[in-house]
Structure formats: structure tokens, C-alpha cells
């Protein structure tokens, strides 16, 4: 085997090249550039406190985008538009179960995760059993959930976060870092391990890259795909739980603002919408870049039109870099 491999220095150079062009590296470089730009325009933009608060917002986006990443890697036009609805629903349920008491946190967490998973699995079953396109199925699910929420709440905000949950989101836990960032790190580790170091992960990439090959190799693409939607629902549920802690109480449409950014974070993170390639590290970079970009645009007070232009240009530059990278890989 060693005889067929290129020389060691070439291998190292190649690995370094791959690292330099990894979506995470690119996205973080973009985030740093944006921070520097923000600091130049409005001093204090890149202060440690500001960075932590931006990362907290990115953590919420990153959690939803974890599920989105799984679903998109699984292929067959996999996409989950129902994450917004699930966030709203789970934030509502968690807030009402908790009603401001710390003692109810474990129950509320378990209930939100289970509920999110159930809704996601329902999406998955509709998609694989009834062959409903993911776009349509999850959009329909969003309508059902949001409608039900309006009926349940009569449009009035309800439920309250427990103090401990609010502290997890807003108070430093260790060395000035809030608990939510540690939680994000744990989730990131878990998702990366799942994708890269388990048989399940190998199957997920296989069904995304070529479902027929996966089927002939004895995998069950439908079952895995349904499960991926379940997991996406679960991550959205977790996000809803944390959003409750972040905002304190819940209004009906609170989750909808996460739908589009969760998809954009995955795409600028280098995961192909066609399925089969990508990973969660890139998505983390995407979530951070997107968050910094958004707060920069707010700081700049660029006005809606100016924001659109800058937002679009950043996306295009990143996507161009990925195009180049794919060329190098080919």
C-alpha cells in the first residue's frame, strides 16, 4: 500500500491544502474579516462580550442547522422547512410545562425532544411512505403546527422560562463562556462523531450519494431517511427549548425566522444540496458567518437594500470559493 502512495511531503502538502480550503476554515476566515470590518466601522463590535453574544445567537442557529445538515446530506431533495414550526411549538410546550420553575426543566426538556422527534418522524414517514416531496411535506407540516399554535394560544404569548434555563443562555458558566456554548460544543462533537465514526453515519452519506448502491449493499435508505427527519425535528425541538430560555417567553411565530438561515448556514458550510457530501463542521462555520454578517448589517444601519446587497455578495464569494475547491478535488 505504501508503495502506491505519494511521498510523505506531498501528502502533508495535500492535507494542508485541504485544511486551508475546508469550509470551516473559509467560513471562519470570512467571520474574522467581517468582525474586523465591523470593529473598524463601529469600535466595540469585536469586543469579547460582543463576540460571546454573537456566538450565543449562532449557537441557536447552529442547533437547528445540525438537523438540517443531516437531512440535506441524506439526499433525495432532503430539506426540512418545518424546523421553524417545530421551534415555535416546542418553545410553547416547554414554556407551559416549565411555567418558571427549575424543577420542571428535566420534564420539559424530555417532552420537547420527544415531541420534536415525533413531528420530524411524521415528516419522514410522509416522505418515504407516501412519497410526498420533502419541500411540500415539511411546508405543510409548518402550516399545521402554526395553525394549531394560534388555536392553542389564541395569539397571546404564554409560558415562562425557568431561571436556570435563562441563566444557561445569558450567564457566563466557565471562564466567561455561557453554558449554551458548551452545550453547542457537545452537540457538535456528537453530530461529528455520528457522521464520521459510526456505521449509521456511513449509511447516511451512502444513501445521499447513491441510494441504489446503498440499497444493494443491504442498507435501508427509506428507514434511514425517515430517521434523519426525526433527528432534524429533535434538534429543532432542542432549539425551541433554548429559544425559550433566550427570550423568556414565547410568541406564536418565534421559530419561523430560523428556517431560511438554517438552510443557508448548511449551504455556505459546504454541504451539497444534492446530498452525499458535506458535514457539520462546515455548518458551524456557516452559522457563525451568517450571524456575524447579520449583526454587522444591523450595526451598519445599511438600510434594507444595502443589507441585501452585502448579504448576497458575501454568499456569492463563499460559494465561488467552494466551486474552486471542488475543481481542485475533482
Amino acid at each position: 500500500m505504501s508503495a502506491q502512495n505519494p511521498s510523505a511531503s506531498a501528502a502533508v502538502r495535500r492535507r494542508l491544502g485541504a485544511l486551508a480550503l475546508h469550509p470551516l476554515t473559509l467560513a471562519l476566515a470570512a467571520a474574522v474579516a467581517l468582525l474586523a470590518l465591523g470593529e473598524a466601522i463601529s469600535p466595540g463590535f469585536a469586543s469579547p462580550g460582543q463576540i460571546v453574544s454573537q456566538l450565543t445567537i449562532a449557537a441557536l442557529l447552529g442547533m437547528v442547522a445540525a438537523g438540517q445538515t443531516l437531512v440535506i446530506i441524506g439526499g433525495r431533495e432532503g430539506i426540512d422547512l418545518s424546523v421553524g414550526g417545530v421551534i415555535s411549538l416546542c418553545a410553547f410546550v416547554a414554556g407551559n410545562l416549565m411555567a418558571g420553575t427549575d424543577a420542571a426543566i428535566p420534564l420539559a426538556l424530555a417532552a420537547t425532544l420527544a415531541l420534536g422527534f415525533a413531528v420530524g418522524l411524521l415528516n419522514g414517514l410522509g416522505i418515504v411512505l407516501l412519497r410526498i416531496p420533502p419541500l411540500v411535506m415539511t411546508l405543510g407540516m409548518t402550516g399545521v403546527i402554526q395553525g394549531a399554535l394560534v388555536i392553542l394560544t389564541r395569539g397571546v404569548p404564554s409560558g415562562r422560562s425557568a431561571p436556570a434555563l435563562t441563566a444557561l443562555m445569558n450567564q457566563p458558566l466557565v471562564a466567561g463562556i455561557p453554558g449554551v456554548l458548551l452545550l453547542w460544543a457537545a452537540v457538535a462533537l456528537g453530530v461529528c462523531l455520528l457522521l464520521h465514526n459510526t456505521a449509521f453515519g456511513v449509511r447516511v452519506y451512502a444513501i445521499g450519494a447513491n441510494p441504489e448502491v446503498a440499497r444493494i449493499a443491504g442498507m435501508r435508505p427509506e428507514r434511514i431517511r425517515a430517521l434523519l427527519f426525526g433527528l432534524s425535528g429533535m434538534f429543532a425541538g432542542l432549539t425551541g427549548f433554548l429559544v425559550l430560555g433566550y427570550t423568556g417567553s414565547v410568541f406564536v411565530g418565534i421559530g419561523l425566522q430560523y428556517v431560511l438561515p438554517s438552510i443557508v448556514a448548511v449551504v455556505i458550510g459546504g454541504t451539497s444540496l444534492a446530498g452525499g457530501i458535506g458535514g457539520y463542521l462546515g455548518t458551524i462555520g456557516g452559522a457563525i458567518t451568517l450571524t456575524v454578517l447579520q449583526s454587522l448589517l444591523i450595526t451598519l444601519d445599511a438600510g434594507p437594500a444595502g443589507r441585501q446587497v452585502i448579504f448576497g455578495l458575501t454568499l456569492l464569494v463563499l460559494l465561488l470559493l467552494y466551486g474552486r475547491q471542488r475543481g481542485l478535488r475533482g
Binding site: M1, N5, N197, A199, A206, V213, A214, I216, G276
Partner: protein, 516 residues
Amino acid sequence: MPLLELSDLRKRYGGIVALDGADLALEAGEVHVLIGANGCGKSTLCKVIAGSVLPDSGVLRIDGAERRFRSPREAAAAGVGVFYQELSLVPSLSVEDNLLLGREPRRFGLVDRRAVRREAERQLALFAGALGPELAPDSRVADLSADQRQVVEILKVLGEDARLILFDEPTSSLDRRQVAIFFELVRALKREGRTVVFISHRMDEIFEIGDRVSVMRDGRVVETTAVADTDPGRIVRAMVGGEAAAGGAPGAAPGTAPAPARPGDATLLRVDGLSAPRVDGVSLELRAGEILGLGGLHGQGQSALLRGLFGIEPGVRGRIEVEGRPLRRPTPADSIRAGLAYISGDRGRDGVALLRPILENLAYGLVTREGGVAFPRGRVAGRLGPVVERLGLRFGSLSDPVRSLSGGNQQKVVIGRWLATAPRVILLDDPTKGIDVNAKADLFRMVRELAEAGAAILLYSSEDGELLGHAERVLVFNGGRIVRELSGEGLTRHALNEAAYATPGATPGAEAGAAA
């Protein structure tokens, strides 16, 4: 003057010569049979006439005028109609919409639905009584049975009013009555002065409907005679060429044919009365160490049998036993755990996930066979090391995507995937499609080693040479059934080709005697 004349047609695909100076002349009002072994160039020749393949050189004349079809549309405009073996119907449309697709009768600029219905009913009436009562003009094509679809396809071509019609295996799914009606329609075409090119996998049909027959071999037309002046034996001799008519087995170098399996060896695979779509009551037994060949023309159920056995295609009936244990309604996962492996030559469809790393592609079989939660990349790579070594796989790094490999090396990845699971029975589905000579040799060397190590091999190949060179016994398929078993002295190129055109259900001995 012939209606259509082809002279000195040449066509290469990469290193493979499909047409090597083919000449053919078709007269108006004749049924011209085109016949030849797999890979002789007849389908390329048809594609040239149909306008879907542009030859590298050579001349095509219609009514004496030189023509050059750059698209099927141009050929159709010149009066060429084609019945494709791969059905060209739109499954989601109705029968009537398919029949009149692209030439719907119009009224005030809109499709005249009533005229469409009238025309469809008129056409379907041609097969009245032979189609089953549930077939109506507004039935969806997706809901039709195989024979009904084939009839619709035939009617669609007839409706095009072409002067020259190519029928590429139009009768493969039809029953006796439907074939009789079809032949009546062909005779009517002849009376109108139209020309029919007929390709079939059944010798008896060729003699029933053909006026002249052209035999192709190695990209050339080697003989054209009136059907009345020839016989099946002479046709098969022309297909095979001089060398093999003497009874030898070219392609199998002396001494390379494997030793016959020892009689005491255990039966690893037993199949009893297996039926599936395109497979009709196949029974066979396969012993440890044996390489059993599946022969016959393309698409006669060999591939369908292998895919059915492995559980890729549903709808399999009959008994399957692997090492004495029954395998009921298998799924690929069941088959893999029972010790089966399936290697297809269609790598893009069945073999590799091109975007994924070599390591993962190699590990798919292990992941299924062993289950388990963790996938420790380093340890998996270590376990696959010996397999990679044995394959002689050439690659940069195991984490490179499979698409960075050549076709032959990609195929080795598929083989390596199954080697890693130590299978007992290996199903090879035309495994050398599109790989180079060296990769082929490597593949068969490995297959031999596996057989010698006690695995049982079921090999379907569309290249006669591979069957002759590596199998000790060959089951010849026609129309989804085994029509002949050849082994030992009887396993020759000549016998393979003769058996390929045998009629399903006919007594094997009688025809073999007649042809000898």
C-alpha cells in the same frame, strides 16, 4: 434500387470497434432479419439507421440519395420508424396519449380529444381479443402489463406511417396469439411495400416471418441470403465464424478451463422454480468451487435472475436455499447475511457511490454483514488492507473519492467490498462491462481464486469468450427460461450461439441434432 443502402459503416467507442465496415441493402416490401451474437454490432447498426448514432465513416443512402442523420428526428422525417427494446412510452400518460404523442390530431389549433380517442380505438382494435378486457384507451401505461405495453409500443410505431420500420425484439414479452397478430400486421406492411427490419431472439420466428436474413459478426455483415435458401445450422455457423464451426472453443486458451467441481462438494445454492419479472421457472444447483455460467442473448432473464436472487428486484417466487437454509423473499441485507454477494457491471447504477471515499465504499458490505454501532476508520482501514493488497488497487489515499479512480479500479472497489465479507456464493452480473483488458484479467484471476477457496460463482456475461474461458457449465437463457445446459465437450462457441436462439420449451436434443 434498394430502399436503404449502407456501405462500409465504421464506428468505434474508445478502444472498442462496434462497426468495422458493415454493408447492408434493404429492398422495399421485404422483411429483413438481422441476427448475430452479443456484441456483433447489430444494435449499433440499427442506431445508425435510426439516427441516434452518427457513424465515424461510411455512407447511408435512401432511394439512392446519400443521407446523414444527425438526430432521430431527421431519420423519422426520412421515413424511418423504430421499435425500441427499451420501451419509449411515457408511463404517466394514457394509452391514447402515448399512441399519438407528438402527432395529435388538431382542431382549431387544439388537440381534438375525440379524434384521438377514435384513432386509439381503431389501433387497439387490431389486437382485439388478445389484450385483456381491462385495456382501454384511457388506461395509464404505468398500470399495464409487460405484454400490453409492448403491444402499445408496436401500435405506436405502426401509427407513424414509416416506410422502413426497425423492430428490435418486438415479441419478447408477447404470447403466442399476440405474436400471430403482430406477424399478420407485418405481412400487411409488406403488401403496402414497406420494409421491415426484424431482430428476434427466437429462430422459429425468424424462419416464419423473414424474407432475407443478414448475419453479423465482429462489426460486419458476413452473409445475406434468402431465408428459404438457408437453415438454422448455417446461420449459426455464419454467426460464429469458421474456427468455431470445427468445434473448438476459442477464447478459452487450452488448460485455462477450471477443473470440474469434485462430485463430493457441497451444494451451496439451490434454486427451485424461481419466477420473477422476466424470469420464468428457473431451477439450478451450484456447488462449492464451481463457476456456473449464464449464457444467451442480452436481456433474456439472466440479469433479472441474479437481481431477484439477491433481493434487489421484488416479486420473486420459488424456493431459494443457501447452504441448505431457505431464503424467503430476500432483501439485499438478508442475502448478504446468508453469504451472498452481487457484483454488477453497471457501476454507476449499482456499484459505487462516486462522491464517497474509497474506504467507505469498501466497507459497505462489512457494515451490513456485521452491523455494529461504531465505525473506527483506522481499524476498518487496517482490516481492509489485505483486501486492497490482493486487489492490486491503485489509488492515492483511501480517503479519496471513488470517482478519482479509473473504471477498472472502481470495479475492484466493488469486488473488494464483497471480498471483505467472505461470501459463499458470488453473483456476477456482466461484471466486465466497460473495463479494460488488464482489469478483466485481474477480475477473473480473483474469481478463480475465490472458487478455488470454496466459493460458488454464478457468472452472467454478455461475452461468450468469458463464459467459454471460465465456466465449466453454462445454462443458456431465452425468454426468461433455461433452454439448454452445456458442459464439457458440448460447451463450444457454436453451441452457445445455437442455443441462444433456441425456442423456450423445445426439446433440446432435437434441435441440437438438426443443427449439427
